[in-house]
């Protein structure tokens, strides 16, 4: 194994890691806000990928250009899911955790069923994106352009998210609500509205990830399942609710996966991620950046 192949693996691991971070951050954001784990998160990703494919086929819009539109669509979808399901799930007086888990899990199954019904289980891909087939080379290392664009979009999204949380009134309301959802009502913040916007924002972020991923990944009804587990592990590794933790953990997961794939058969590459997760939580039961 030469130094170049190792560098190649690590760099593509880094790019993949930034994608994982973008997929995971919405999940972490929603959890931090209201202690709800969305078990349909992978299916949100799947929906965004199909929407991107649809825009490409019907209106011939390139995935890069349609990404903001997909994010906006997913924002509306997330807010709708909150208003239609989660709001009611949070009213349960017994088994609150279970109700949230299984109502979102039911939504996941429903979304997969709808995708199968309307789009059949076939694998699809976007053939003629602007980035398709192009590579970018630095010092003998070749990286595919779609993945580079994905990493840049992810970095930009985290930058924007940081500004949103630190600099805007909405960001302050978000922070205040996650600190103490009961007390914010006293200072005139509508808790329900913040929750709904939080769901919208979290879904928009995974929507962005879906739009980018549609450029270089197959699109099929179960595609979310393969990324959902990685997203949950990423969120837990970073610490539930921590936005910065999701970014750091995403990069760690991407790199660990790349390193594992160099050492063992590629079909076992996820085992490295799982081992790192277990090793971390056994010593830090709240993840790397989770608060007690």
């Amino acid at each position: 194994m030469t130094a170049e192949t190792i560098l190649q693996s690590l760099l593509s691991g880094l790019l993949t890691g930034l994608m994982y971070a973008l997929i995971a951050v919405g999940l972490s954001l929603i959890f931090g806000l209201m202690d709800v784990v969305n078990f349909a998160h992978g299916e949100f990703l799947m929906a965004a990928m199909y929407a991107t494919l649809g825009l490409t086929l019907v209106l011939a819009i390139d995935p890069i250009l349609s990404a903001p539109l997909i994010a906006a669509l997913m924002f509306a979808f997330g807010a709708l899911v909150y208003a239609g399901i989660i709001r009611f799930a949070m009213r349960a007086r017994t088994n609150v955790g279970m109700v949230q888990i299984f109502s979102t899990f039911g939504l996941a199954i429903l979304m997969r069923g709808l995708a199968q019904f309307f789009f059949t289980p076939d694998y699809r891909s976007i053939q003629h994106a602007w980035t398709s087939g192009r590579t970018f080379s630095v010092g003998g290392v070749y990286l595919p352009l779609p993945q580079i664009v994905g990493a840049l979009v992810s970095a930009a999204a985290f930058g924007g998210l940081f500004l949103l949380i630190k600099r805007t009134d909405f960001g302050k309301a978000l922070e205040a609500t996650r600190e103490d959802a009961g007390a914010v009502a006293l200072v005139g913040i509508n808790r329900n509205r913040v929750f709904m916007l939080g769901w919208g924002l979290g879904s928009a972020l995974v929507g962005l990830a879906g739009a980018v991923m549609a450029m270089f990944f197959y699109i099929y009804p179960d595609v979310g399942a393969s990324f959902a587990l990685i997203a949950y592990v990423t969120v837990a590794l970073g610490g539930f609710g921590s936005v910065f933790g999701a970014l750091a953990a995403g990069v760690i997961v991407g790199l660990v996966e790349a390193i594992t794939a160099m050492l063992v058969p590629p079909s076992l590459k996820s085992v490295g991620i799982y081992a790192v997760y277990l090793a971390v939580v056994f010593f830090r039961p709240r993840g790397l950046f989770g608060s007690m």
Binding site: F31, V37, I85, F88, A89, A92, R93, T94, N95, V96, G97, M98, V99, I101, F102, S103, F105, G106, L107, A108, I109, L110, M111, R112, G113, L114, A115, Q116, F117, T120, P121, P221, L229, Y232, V233, A236, F240, P265, S267, L268, S270, V271, I273, Y274, A275, Y277, L278, V281, F282, P285, R286, G287
Partner: protein, 328 residues
């Protein structure tokens, strides 16, 4: 806690259970077509599985979504001992159960320090690791799996190539056994410890409940019965591979009946299995065909509606008055 009404309810439960088991035992006299018999066996098996899962996740409150590991171990241990060493499945079943319970204890040692979602995700990634290892382990057939060689109809070899009825009675016995174990534990020291640990671990600890030991006991019992069901399933279908006995989907299938029927209740898992398994099979065979997705749509909608409309599970439809001592 041990009020007269609680004692009366326990007495009524065991009477009802005996009557229901007797009625189910007579079903093969009327049900002769193989398709329906198959659904009956699966329903009873999932009732047993969900009842076992309910001990750790329902009563003790430690939500595991990695029980496919114990199910798969049960299936693989009995199958490998039979195909490679000629050891009869009954001994394999016991060996698998012992191995699964030991592994549950070994894993519990580090995992029970974790709380909530961190614990649940740990159970998922451990089971996934097991799944990936079996998928790549050539000696146990890797992705191709193992076919159990068919010899003859025999209770000794626990295989009946031309008959489903013996499997039906074993599944019924297993479902009754897990129900009875739950019934006994409900009114034992462990049962009270488990519910205390679920409701408030700090308070339980301060009252002298050894939280860690309580979780370990629940995990061992739960893994033991899950594994026995795994060995049974291997004999029933005659062919196993990692996808069919150890995939994540299986962990969810085990949890669903208990959740929809009523998590942490005596009757919830059986009620949930009675509704979900036949429904799933019927919807799949009448509407499924060629992955059209209608079965998933109905199943998904049903799960959303039940979990929103009946947070305490369907079993609450049958209880007229809530017993505060027993609701989690």
């Amino acid at each position: 806690m041990r009020t007269p009404s609680f004692a009366r309810r326990r007495g009524a439960s065991i009477t009802w259970a005996a009557v229901i088991a007797a009625v189910i035992a007579l079903l093969p006299l009327f049900v002769t077509d193989v398709y329906t018999q198959n659904i009956l066996v699966l329903t009873l098996m999932f009732a047993a599985l969900s009842q076992s899962w309910n001990i750790l996740s329902g009563y003790c409150g430690q939500i595991s979504l990695g029980h496919a590991l114990y199910f798969g171990l049960g299936a693989y241990v009995s199958t490998i001992l039979f195909t490679k060493f000629g050891i009869i499945p009954w001994i394999g079943m016991v060996a698998g159960g012992a191995l699964s319970a030991s592994i549950a204890l070994a894993l519990g040692y580090p995992c029970f320090r974790l709380r909530g979602h961190y614990f649940t995700i740990a159970t998922v990634v451990i089971a996934e690791t097991g799944y990936l290892l079996f998928l790549n382990w050539d000696w146990v057939g890797a992705a191709l799996g193992i076919q159990i060689p068919i010899r003859r109809d025999s209770w000794l070899l626990f295989q009946f190539p031309r008959d489903k009825i013996p499997y039906f009675y074993f599944a019924l016995a297993l479902a009754c056994a897990t129900w009875l174990v739950t019934w006994i534990f409900e009114d034992s020291k462990w049962g009270y410890c488990w519910r205390a640990v679920k409701d408030n671990p700090e308070a339980a600890e301060s009252l002298g409940v050894v939280v860690f030991h309580s979780k370990m006991a629940a995990a061992a019992v739960s893994a033991l019965f899950t594994s026995i069901a795994g060995s049974f399933y291997a004999q029933f279908v005659g062919y196993i591979d990692p996808e069919s006995v150890m995939a994540f989907q299986f962990s969810l299938l085990m949890a669903l009946p208990a959740v929809l029927g009523g998590i942490g209740t005596l009757w919830g898992p059986a009620l949930g299995a009675l509704i979900l398994i036949p429904l799933n099979e019927l919807v799949r065979s009448y509407l499924g065909g060629s992955g059209a997705g209608i079965d998933l749509i109905i199943y998904g909608l049903l799960i959303i509606m039940i979990s929103l409309a009946r947070p305490e599970g369907l079993v609450s439809l049958f209880t007229r008055r809530k017993l505060p001592a027993l609701t989690g």
